[in-house]
């Protein structure tokens, strides 16, 4: 076998590995709301992941980004959002602005 062919095959093999390893499947990450607390308060995620807020309170809450999106989370219900943009964002509940959370979204 000529060195060139070997190189080429190695190259294809390593390319295949890279393709297999890189696009990790989108995940669903749960954030619980209990007694007016987002838990975990900080979530690390990536673009394409879905955040599901599970509201255990009898109160309606929101996950709101100032000047950005808002998710309404009715009492004893869940609501979700698929992350479209990378970057860290702080969110809060518009009804109870003392409730705060943070999403750190990787590209």
């Amino acid at each position: 076998m000529r060195p060139y062919a070997l190189d080429r095959r190695l190259w294809i093999a390593s390319l295949a590995l890279v393709i297999a390893a890189t696009p990790a499947a989108a995940e669903t990450i749960e954030v619980t709301i209990d007694k007016l607390v987002f838990s975990p308060a900080t979530v690390e995620a990536k673009v394409g992941d879905t955040i599901v807020w599970v509201n255990k309170d009898v109160f309606a809450h929101t996950a709101t980004i100032k000047g950005g999106w808002e998710v309404m989370i009715p009492p004893k219900k869940s609501a979700s959002l698929t992350l479209k943009a990378a970057g860290p964002v702080d969110y809060f509940c518009r009804f109870h602005p003392n409730m705060k959370g943070r999403l750190v979204v990787a590209p």
Binding site: L36, F59, H96
Partner: protein, 174 residues
């Protein structure tokens, strides 16, 4: 009217400020349940007045939030007192709160439009601040039943949230 209102609030604060010095005045669980429940009912009544009188969307939304949250927390309170077989007991603090709220409602009834909105929201900030002070310094430390204490702690977080929400609405009315 304003003086009496302030005096009632001051009485509540004073009562709350020195719980150790006035150990004899420490409210019992049935009294605490009554005070917390009354504080919620009064805020719902204030909100219902705003829902009738205001035309400002921010104020109306805020008032609806107050009705929804306080009715939800009071439903929990009723379930709890039933479960604990506690009968809420009327007391001087509940009476002072009720009297002050009636006076505030009478004052607000004479106002219209932007003047009403501002007075209602400003009073909501003051009222929630007041109740938070009482919860933190008097009601929560005095509660002996763990479940009652826990519900009061959730109530405090709700009230603190409302205080910030009211401050935000007050800022938008300026």
């Amino acid at each position: 009217m304003l003086v009496r209102h302030t005096a009632a609030l001051a009485a509540l604060l004073l009562f709350g400020a020195a719980p150790l010095a006035q150990a004899a005045d420490k409210p019992t669980d049935p009294q605490i349940a009554h005070i917390a429940y009354t504080a919620g009912v009064l805020d719902v009544e204030a909100a219902k007045q705003a829902l009738k009188k205001s035309k400002n969307k921010e104020v109306l939304d805020f008032a609806k939030d107050m009705v929804r949250d306080h009715e939800a927390v009071n439903a929990q309170a009723l379930d709890l007192v039933k479960k604990l077989k506690v009968t809420p007991e009327d007391n001087a603090t509940s009476k002072a709160l009720t009297k002050a709220a009636a006076e505030e409602r009478a004052k607000l009834a004479t106002l219209k439009g932007a003047a009403f909105d501002k007075a209602y929201v400003d009073n909501e900030v003051a009222y929630h601040k007041q109740v938070n002070g009482a919860l933190e310094t008097l009601l929560i430390p005095s509660a002996s039943n763990a479940e009652l204490k826990s519900l009061l702690e959730t109530g405090l977080k709700i009230f603190q949230g409302h205080e910030q929400h009211a401050e935000h609405v007050a800022g938008m009315l300026k």
